[in-house]
Symmetry: C2
Subunit: 353 residues, 2 copies
């Protein structure tokens, strides 16, 4: 089959839903996971979309991702909820937790859900509209206490994960969708480049000698180096601070983390939803957010340079195009799903003409 | 007098309390402000300590900083409180708002206070122990809607402020005290270097031509450039995202910001205090936070390099030394306060022998 082929998004969702259902996940949950993974592909975050489906299917098969059952309530107190995700699918868990946080934000003005022992949660940006479409502000943080790869500032050894920070908020137009990590680049991107034998775009890792390098191979060398925190060798204390913030708000608050030495990959997740009406008011929020967005888009640029784009602008433009013209998947995604489809007797989706 | 002289911290607090009181601020508030400014000097954040006192005294005199009265409640709903600070002293206001947030966190598991139209809030790190000493986690964000200086990623024009992000949390030893900005450097530091005719330590600003530069003069050139967001020309979309997050959580939620075109310098402030006991439990929080802190301190470093330090380690070590040996003030601070002391008939503090 042709990897560069384009697909109808709805067909990809149907296909992935069928795969996850056949692998033993309840149908409704399978649909949520399929939709959010395809959403990542629509937005152009192609390391964190259907690219993950084969891995998820493999883990459902091995039992390292739990197929059925509910998360266990660790603590439930007014606006605050803590869940043990029991390594259920993290994409479904996160969508479920956001719904809980939105409900609590309606009642208390804000809601916070901390999740321990979730499975992997994929692309954070895709979750943000689940809150912004209700006019709410959302902060979504995640770390994996079974994984390292990013060094503290001043070190050359991975001690924690890239630790994404995602924030979404409404404006009078599209929402602003921020999805960054506390490291310069991610483990997924470094792995892909290492596999392709390509260097990073910048010197975003550090070798055991303390020198910055663009070689993604440094992560698996002996002795290994590590990814650098945001700010790099020069001002990486800032990325280090952000990484520690994420660790404290995720594993720290959820009550399960590196100190527990988890053997399974997974995620600690912090979700906060705030209702502007419980503060200065929704109208004032949207007015201010929209004013600043326009101010930034109109900022002077150097001669010949394109206009400033807001976080989410690019992803939403790619999404609109993909909804119209179909979505192209990164090479290798469909071939990796083919054996599962064959095993389950599910037809592969037909590429667009 | 000798600028490099060292002073007894308690004497500096007494001196600054007397100055603010004489300028018309209530005595108890003056003491809070004096203590927190000196705290910044103790921690070594010398642009944001007593360095600010002469400016504050001038503004009390001109009436651009309100001397007396209480903040006005804009909204009060369970764990959420929104205040109009009416340009009262921001250091006092922030300490007051943190106390409110801690009280609400005790009741609801978390408390959020948004403050609009605060005056300047000085050094964010100094406030964090007001929550961590109760075993709580604190997030403190601030922006100044009357000021710009930092460009969005891809632009060359200041559209927002450096937008500090401070986070404090307890461990089984010292708390972790994170205090960073979403820009590479701050307006205060650039101003000081510009005054001294010195370059920045790195190319942390951008000229109108789109090229990175270490010249702090670029901010006041014609046409001006701007400070770069964290990540610089290469990955500044991350710092830009953080800056927008801070703007939304501060001015957006508080309901007053750049859209209102404020003419007075001031601050929009977001304070969140979380009680780990409302989530996975305080013991588990401290265990995890302490484990990761030790893991980072023990990280491999390049040959000959010092061990990794956690955010706050340096500040708390400087603080301990200054409490023992006295605190040295940056040149110019005492001379700037001398005219006020003379005018109010207050004796200058005596330097240590």
């Amino acid at each position: 089959m042709n990897d560069a082929a384009r697909f109808q998004p709805s067909e990809l969702i149907e296909f992935a839903t069928a795969l996850f259902s056949a692998a033993g996940m309840p149908g409704e949950r399978s649909a949520v996971v399929a939709e959010l993974l395809v959403e990542a592909d629509l937005m152009g975050h192609d390391t964190h979309g259907l690219n993950l489906a084969a891995n998820y299917l493999g883990q459902l098969d091995k039992g390292t991702m739990k197929k059925t059952g509910d998360p266990v309530v660790v603590n439930d107190r007014g606006p605050c909820l803590t869940l043990n995700g029991e390594y259920l699918n993290g994409v479904w868990l996160t969508a479920y937790a956001i719904e809980e946080a939105v409900t609590r934000a309606r009642e208390f003005g804000l809601g916070v859900v901390a999740v321990q022992q979730s499975h992997h949660i994929a692309c954070l940006a895709t979750f943000l509209p689940l809150a912004t479409r209700h006019g709410m502000v959302i902060q979504l943080l995640s770390s994996d206490p079974a994984e390292t790869g990013v060094t503290p500032h001043g070190g050359v050894e991975g001690c924690f994960t890239p630790n994404p920070i995602a924030v979404g908020y409404p404006t009078d137009g599209d929402p602003v969708l921020i999805d960054i990590s506390a490291s310069i680049t991610t483990l997924g991107m470094s792995g892909r480049l290492r596999g392709a034998g390509e260097p990073m775009t910048g010197k975003w890792a550090v070798g055991p000698d303390g020198k910055a390098t663009d070689d993604p191979g440094v992560l698996v060398a002996d002795p290994p180096g590590a990814l650098l925190p945001l700010g790099g060798l020069e001002t990486g204390h800032k990325g280090f601070g952000l990484a520690l913030m994420v660790e404290a708000m995720t594993s720290g608050l959820a009550g399960h983390g590196r100190a527990d030495g988890p053997e399974r990959h997974g995620a600690s997740v912090f979700i906060q939803v705030l209702d502007p009406d419980a503060f200065g008011g929704r109208d004032r929020f949207v007015r201010e957010a929209s004013f600043l967005a326009e101010r930034c888009r109109a900022a002077r640029v150097a001669p010949g340079n394109p206009a400033v784009r807001l976080p989410g602008d690019g992803a939403l433009a790619r999404r609109a195009k993909a909804m119209r013209d179909g979505v192209s998947l990164y090479p290798g995604i469909m071939p990796a799903l083919e054996p599962f489809a064959e095993g389950f007797g599910i037809a592969m989706p037909s590429p667009l003409a």
